[in-house]
């Protein structure tokens, strides 16, 4: 009985799967059969894609050529100085360091806050009304022009209670400092971090969370050990995009950092608070000032600084790429 049972029924050779016929024809759909309007649409898509590639390449190539022509290594280490000729006015080391300071401070406020908000929205989100309000608030912040945020920042940081974050003189709070600028810049980065962290958390299938709960783990442990590590690539992408926005912002720097040409440390405060409470500058501000419309009017140095800025952004983009490639090595869940 067993042997007869073990024999599989012979396959029916007459019926071939339809897929084989399709590949035999080798037909790949072409646009030749499309309606004219669709073909025009396709052509426009192609043209626009190529146009934007061309613009991006043009910007990068132009800045590379200009940058390599004008950038001297000494500019990276000499601060700006007053002088009558280009040779006397120094470089932009203060601006370079200033960019790094606001980047680090801004992202170290925005990243934890953004992750926390995203986790709350995705994993908790109760009461639902509060979650909806939070969501629209984040979207609103994303839509506010940074110059408006900057103005708002002057109101906040000029208040007496926050005097310890900037320069004060005879009871008047200056309200412009690295602290003030970084705090407002973190708001520029925050929506990007929230959005990409949410995307990361949402891409984790529900059954993965349940698998963790099903071995007796709490929601907190699951979030910390499973969900956040699993969405690390998206969080990192958000952080990199946010960093890009922070180092690229000019309005907040001009209004809230004082837009001096050099560091203006507060006397009597301990290092590093003397610098962080004082005014300063960043690369974007330097480019603005050094451009033909600015006070310095030395376009060569503007190109050199812009080139450095561009390099930073390119490095950020490359980092995002590396993170994603690494994430692919760890693999993901099917379906």
């Amino acid at each position: 009985m067993d042997s007869s049972v073990a024999t599989p029924p012979p396959p029916a050779p007459a019926q071939k799967p339809p897929r084989a016929q399709k590949t035999a024809q080798g037909a790949v759909e072409g646009s030749a059969t499309w309606a004219p309007i669709d073909r025009v649409g396709l052509a426009i898509c192609w043209a626009l894609g190529l146009l934007f590639c061309a613009i991006a390449v043009a910007v990068v190539v132009y800045l590379f050529i200009k940058g390599i022509t004008y950038l001297k290594p000494s500019m990276l280490v000499t601060p700006a100085a007053a002088g009558f000729s280009q040779a006397e006015t120094g470089g932009f080391s203060d601006a370079l360091i200033g960019t790094m300071i606001v980047a680090v401070m801004g992202i170290s406020i925005a990243l934890p806050a953004g992750i926390a908000i995203a986790v709350w929205l995705v994993e908790y989100g109760r009461p639902a009304a509060l979650a909806r309000v939070t969501e629209s608030t984040i979207e609103a912040i994303a839509g506010i022009p940074s110059i408006v945020l900057a103005l708002f920042g002057t109101v906040i940081f000029s208040s007496t209670a926050l005097g310890f974050l900037s320069r004060t003189s005879e009871g008047v709070v200056f309200g412009r400092s690295f602290f003030a600028a970084s705090a407002m810049l973190s708001l520029v980065a925050l929506p990007l971090i929230v959005a990409s962290t949410r995307e990361g958390l949402n891409s984790i299938p529900r059954h993965v969370r349940e698998a963790s709960y099903a071995v007796g783990k709490t929601k907190a442990a699951t979030t910390r050990r499973i969900l956040l590590p699993a969405s690390r690539p998206q969080v990192a992408t958000g952080a990199m995009l946010g960093l890009g926005r922070i180092i690229g912002d000019t309005a907040i720097i001009v209004v809230l950092l004082g837009a001096t040409q050099n560091f203006a440390p507060v006397e009597g405060a301990p290092f590093p608070f003397n610098y962080l409470r004082g005014a300063g500058t960043t690369l974007t501000n330097f480019v603005y000032e050094a451009s033909p419309t600015g006070n310095l009017n030395q376009p060569e140095k503007a190109y050199a600084a812009a080139f450095v800025l561009l390099l930073m952004v390119l490095v950020l983009n490359a980092t995002v790429d590396v993170i994603h490639r690494r994430a692919r090595k760890v693999g993901t869940w099917s379906s």
């Binding site: 349940e210 698998a211 709960y213 099903a214 071995v215 007796g216 910390r224 869940w333």
Partner: protein
């Protein structure tokens, strides 16, 4: 319409290389003997390599349990015993409430805010409502339909279960024996012992699912719940996991939800057939597949609907 009347194709079962001697011992339970196939239902052939259960201890008792989603009653007053020493299979068409019933055994249904449960579920004579959920879920663990290892190494997948909540403490060295034994019980250790640091999501589907079983076993549970564990797997991996499930039944009470009637026939000792939230029939696998009491069961197992 011919396919409705002809019986499903016969079951083929690959023989194990070394059939365990356990088959020889006379079963002391009232459960069926595995070799009285009934020709008319189409469920023929050897049921499995390991014979009938040697013993059975009642671990869980489902007592008049109903589960509601908002107003909809997904499970209607179901009573069932869950015993260690045997495999209980829940079968039935999609949406019949079998997965809901399974998930209510470790209170996973509570994650759905609209779900409401009435009736009692006892684990070792204690109402599970009185057991703290995280503790309950370590005693009643679960394996899901999709293989879902955590995005970390094979070793860490098991270590995560062994460690306190979110803690990273308990060194690798300390956990090693337990991790190895969990992998061993899931029949995976020999395949992965050289690659314990590899990302778990790079294993094959069948290995991933066995890792999930190892993970569920690492908590040292009394009951193991399996929700269609083979539906995403190829036949070879399915067979490996089926053999594993039958082996596990002596150490843990096994409850498996399956869409695959052949699978239920191959591995289950008792089968519960559910339809539209009702428990239609609960009996031994041979009885349910060979000689069902209810007409609906007869129709379902003969393929008239599904």
């Amino acid at each position: 319409m011919e396919f409705l009347t002809t019986p499903p194709p016969p079951i083929r079962r690959l023989e194990l290389e070394d059939p365990p001697a356990a088959t020889q011992a006379a079963p002391s339970t009232p459960a069926e003997n595995g070799d009285a196939p009934q020709q008319q239902s189409g469920f023929t052939g050897k049921r499995r390599s390991i014979g009938a259960p040697q013993f059975s201890i009642r671990r869980m008792e489902i007592d008049e349990v109903s589960v509601f989603y908002s107003e909809k009653e997904a499970v209607k007053s179901v009573s069932l015993p869950v015993r260690q020493g045997e495999v209980l299979s829940l079968i039935g068409p999609s949406g019949c409430g079998k997965t809901t019933l399974l998930r209510s055994l470790n209170r996973l249904t509570e994650l759905t805010s609209t779900a409401k449960l009435t009736g009692r579920i006892l684990l070792d004579d204690v109402d599970i409502k009185l057991i703290e959920p995280t503790l309950l879920r370590r005693r009643v663990t679960m394996v899901f339909q999709q293989p879902n290892p955590f995005p970390m190494s094979v070793f860490d997948n098991i270590a995560y279960v062994l460690r306190e909540q979110g803690s990273r403490r308990a060194r690798k060295k300390v956990l090693e024996p337990k991790v190895h034994s969990a992998l061993d019980r899931a029949g995976l250790f020999e395949e992965v012992k050289d690659n314990l640091d590899h990302p778990a999501l790079k294993l094959s589907g069948g290995q991933q699912q066995r890792l999930c079983i190892a993970r569920a076993l690492a908590a040292d549970p009394e009951v193991l719940l399996l929700d269609e564990p083979c539906s995403a797997l190829d036949p070879k991996s399915t067979q490996v996991i089926e053999d594993l499930i039958v082996k596990l039944r002596d150490d843990v009470a096994v409850v498996i939800v399956t869409h695959n009637l052949q699978q239920a026939y191959r591995i289950a000792d008792h089968v519960a057939f559910m339809y539209l939230g009702d428990l239609v029939e609960y009996s031994s696998a041979t009885a349910l597949f060979g000689n069902p009491r209810e007409q609906r069961t007869q129709d379902y197992v003969s393929g008239a609907f599904g």
